[in-house]
Symmetry: C2
């Protein structure tokens, strides 16, 4: 107590010691006295420090079960945790904080595979949690804390179990930030735990996979039809989003992206029908057939990846598109849309569920509503196979950084270059540069840096380019070399590795193709790079050496796009080097599986005594 006194007095807080015994809670008079003492102390701004009165209480019996006994009003007072829980329930406190030397609780013993830290715990989850052996510290271990917390929760008191050594733990809790495990039955916590939603997507995806391509296509057609027949319902929901957005002063371009119209829905339905029609050869396609030996035939076939997590911003039309792609490719799907489109997304999701119900796979696709759930999902590598963020570079970058073990398909940056070689047709060059920069400057495949061969600096070309860009309203920055060459140069670019994403670009001078390639490797993002030249050997050299997803000759960088590449619906553009690179169509949602048919084949048959021989004959796939 003297230590408590010394420490609290540093903050100018007065304390009072209160000692209780179990009996004090059962005897109506002592109980009343206790509660009024506590209320009085609190009203006087005195913090009661409560403990069991060990001098007069018998030690608790270790094997006495925790929990209410019939005819008794409390839990047995085995330790400070149960004492705290009982007191919290008695005074109906707003929050009970139980401090431990561990960070909180996990869904299973933390040393077991698949153990996941629980930020929130609702009493429904009780069955899904396995607790480990009691920790060595005995009755003060986690079991007792958790039982006390649940006991208090059942009596309407929210509880946080956290690590008392964490910096400013109490302040962090009171500011509402995530620390420890929050025991609550508040409705904010989704009724279905995120992990269950993810598991259902796996099961639903497996079900989709076993259907025939026709059944999957039919489901997408159903969804397309619903978009038209339930149009008014969708537009009503969208109207709510638009009202909320405009009343909170959202910018015009965002509003137009958020808005749905009958014609947008019609086009969307049309696009979905195309996805359905072209889906028949996605799953189950034979990529390779090999006769390994007499009677032993191997096939490599395409199958869905499994469970996708797609995170998209504002545009609600992404939802049915992505859902259709997932259904057509037999993948389970978790979707997270932007907050600003919440009403529209919910309405669209209902239609997705309705169409999935026709094939009995309702759970294959679910909508995730909170950011906390996303953070949880990003750690569930056992449930999620691929993450696709669709939106701003910031979104992609943040998802890439947060996801530590689940692959992320996408690109955080699109720093695309156009290199104008000395042998370029300068008219073509001007045309390609204009298109690459000005056709849609916000796109990831727009040009950010123009590289000009130094020989062209003696011609009119540089001035022509600058005039053209100026006319188009493009702000020019210069690279350090260009800047040194000119008497009056545009301001020096802050960084050569920068995505302007607007009517602005950088111009730099290079000595030749090799310097251009080095520049691209040093400052580019491996997205799309272009050479303009009439020298085909040099173009080939450039296309061979530039290590980017897309390398173009005499064509605008704006062609780097799934639709323009003829891939159908675009899943995204990837600058990763494995799985899928560049514009990705529905093929990016597929993987393969090896199917082997034998008679009674054993590996030992192929040993020297086994008598069977390898053939390894490649067979036609059709």
């Amino acid at each position: 107590m003297s230590l408590y006194d010394a420490m609290f007095s540093q903050y100018g807080v007065k304390i009072a010691q209160v000692l209780v015994t179990k009996a004090d809670f059962y005897n109506e008079e002592t109980r009343r006295n206790l509660i009024s003492t506590l209320s009085e102390l609190i009203s006087l701004n005195i913090v009661p420090i409560i403990n069991t009165n060990d001098a007069v209480s018998p030690p608790p019996q270790v094997d006495e079960p925790i929990g209410a006994k019939p005819g008794k009003r409390g839990i047995s007072l085995k330790d400070n945790d149960s004492l705290a829980a009982m007191l919290a329930a008695e005074v109906q406190s707003d929050l009970l904080i139980l401090m431990s030397d561990v960070d909180g609780i996990y869904n299973k013993p933390p040393w077991e595979p698949g153990a996941r830290f629980l930020h929130t715990f609702s009493s429904e989850q009780r069955q899904t949690i396995e607790f480990g052996q009691k920790s060595k510290v005995g009755t003060g271990g986690m079991d007792s804390k958790v039982n006390s917390a649940i006991w208090a929760l059942d009596r309407g008191v929210s509880v946080v179990i956290c690590n008392g050594m964490a910096k400013e733990a109490i302040k962090t809790i009171l500011s509402g930030r995530k620390i420890g495990t929050f025991f609550t039955d508040s409705a904010v916590v989704g009724a279905v735990p995120t992990e269950i939603i993810a598991e259902n997507a796996r099961i639903g995806g497996r079900l989709l996979q076993t259907l025939t391509p026709d059944q999957r296509a039919l489901c997408v057609h159903t969804l397309a039809d619903l978009l038209v027949s339930k149009q008014s319902q969708i537009l009503d929901a969208n109207q709510k989003d638009l009202q909320e957005a405009s009343s909170s002063g959202v910018a015009k371009p965002l509003l137009s992206r958020l808005s749905l119209t009958p014609s947008k829905l019609k086009n969307l339905a049309h696009g979905l029908k195309q996805i359905a029609d072209s889906s028949h050869k996605n799953v189950g396609r034979v990529l390779r057939r090999t006769r390994l030996a007499e009677g032993l035939e191997l096939k490599q076939i395409t199958v869905p990846i499994g469970v996708l997590l797609v995170i998209f911003e504002s545009r609600p039309d992404s939802l049915p598109q992505v859902a259709a792609l997932a259904i057509a490719s037999g993948n389970g799907l978790l979707l997270k849309g932007g907050k600003e489109a919440a009403h529209s997304n919910r309405a669209l999701m209902e239609l997705v569920k309705e169409s999935l119900a026709t094939i009995g796979a309702t759970d294959a696709i679910s909508l995730i509503s909170t950011r906390e759930e996303i953070a949880d999902l990003l750690t569930m590598e056992q449930h999620i196979d691929l993450i696709i963020p669709r939106g701003s570079s910031d979104l992609v970058r943040s998802i890439q950084q947060q996801s530590q073990h689940i692959p992320v398909l996408g690109h955080a940056e699109g720093i695309c270059h156009v290199f104008v070689d000395k042998d370029a047709d300068l008219k073509k060059a001007l045309k390609i540069i204009r298109d690459a920069k000005c056709d849609y400057p916000a796109a990831c495949n727009a040009m950010e840096t123009l590289l000009i061969h130094e020989d062209l600096m003696n011609t009119n070309f540089f001035m022509d380019v600058c005039d053209m860009l100026k006319k188009e309203g493009v702000k020019i920055n210069s690279g350090p070399i260009l800047n040194q060459m000119l008497t009056f140069a545009p301001r020096v670019a802050k960084s050569l590795k920068h995505e302007y994403g607007s009517l602005e670009c950088c111009i730099e001078v290079v000595k030749g193709i090799d310097e251009a390639i080095d520049h691209i490797h040093n400052y580019g993002s491996g997205h799309t790079d272009v050479i303009v030249t009439e020298n085909n050997n040099r173009a080939e050299d450039f296309q061979k050496k530039v290590d980017s997803a897309c390398v173009f000759h005499n064509a605008s960088s704006r062609f780097a796009d799934g639709f323009r590449f003829g891939l159908g619906a675009e899943v995204g553009i990837s600058t990763a080097r494995i799985h899928a690179r560049g514009p990705v169509g529905v093929e990016g949602l597929l993987t393969t599986k090896w199917v082997l048919d034998g008679v009674d084949h054993a590996a030992a048959d192929f040993s020297e005594e086994g008598g069977r021989q390898w053939i390894h004959e490649s067979l036609p796939v059709n």
Copy 2:
């Protein structure tokens, strides 16, 4: 001082205050006195607490540069850090520890992209580090700490800068574990920083990529020839490893894996020549050709992934194999071998470098020698594109867990099932089970769990299987259902999700194919699963529904192998779902790139006013 005194006295340590001024270091007499005072105190086990004598020293001038001035012997005493550095140099201390409220230093300001924590810092690295603005705490900020540390390092004193709030920081430092940044010029730290080695692999890989397939093949042939012509040199090195291993009491199987022989080398050379010969169509293969529009043709071609990090255990023969695969596929490569094969690996690496030198790409492949370097490399997602751990499940699992943003190709577990359907030919079943479990029990594709249709429990089959397994020396565990069925059952398996990896397995009874599939999904690892049945429809159903990399019918699980699948050299077996799945051949080291050739094509040409039309015609790839 009273606080210091109170705290040190808790540990029974006596302290003494020593106050100094800058002048005390310049005046030869005071300097001598100071040093002997300090020596005397230390010899008496008294810890000197040293500070500037602020009562008599003028405050330091803020703009006075840190660093030795001509004619002066020390650095200016601006703060405790410079004081500490000067004292450490004066007494030639073994280690100077500078404590801060940050963890140590980074290669660039920690909030910038690509900032990497530096565990070690050698004075050669000085140029490669950018320091940020002085932190708000003024002269006590990191700049001053780093300058003082470098100053001391230049005078032969090693320094650790660490977070003083870290738990038991001093004990951790003294036990030699990694905490904070260690400033040292000791030779233990590789001459070339890991990051530079990785960057060189990228540059070297890009160079390999620009060579012709013939040049790459020739380089592999050169390496193959060197393995034979420099045989004695390799065997000498290997002898040293074997001696060290046997003197440290290494087990026999490990010794045999470690040992190289003339015939092993000959076979190895033969294998390398096969890799060279079959490499011509790896890189630059056209996978897809599309005419997007008149004069605009798109090609998707295979290209190397970039830079691979391959981590392998004991077998030194892996080194030339993996190097040959990387060269043949045009990838840069970083290799980390087992410590026990250090001599052999170095000798083999010399030959790899010798063969790379013939094509001018010496730096494309490098050997990494310390585990610390691996930890560094696992965070360098900008330099490394794919990690391939080849070795035990523990190795793979640990690498998978450590690598947060670089994909890892491999499998941590191989929990393979054989399901014997009620319509199985029981003789075939016995043969396949024996092969799947006993042919090579340590392999990842060996059977771990046998699932038996319940109808077969009324036949002799169960006893026949048990007799056969017993005869082969296989220890049997039973699943919970089998255990309940039998009066005298084998002991219950501790877990149904377990890889025995030895002559041991689990047997469980299932009601039918659906329960078998559920069991496999719940407890399997997605590696290889087998059905034995004469009912082809049921086999097809099983192959469709089981969500594993390999699903076999009437064939042993042991066929899941790159060579047996006819893929040539095996890179690994992957249970991941993206990029490559199942046994992976050299194709797993490749990705694709999109190459577009146009005339002057702009995206705007395809708008309504543009006048150009999409064709999207698929062209033959040959």
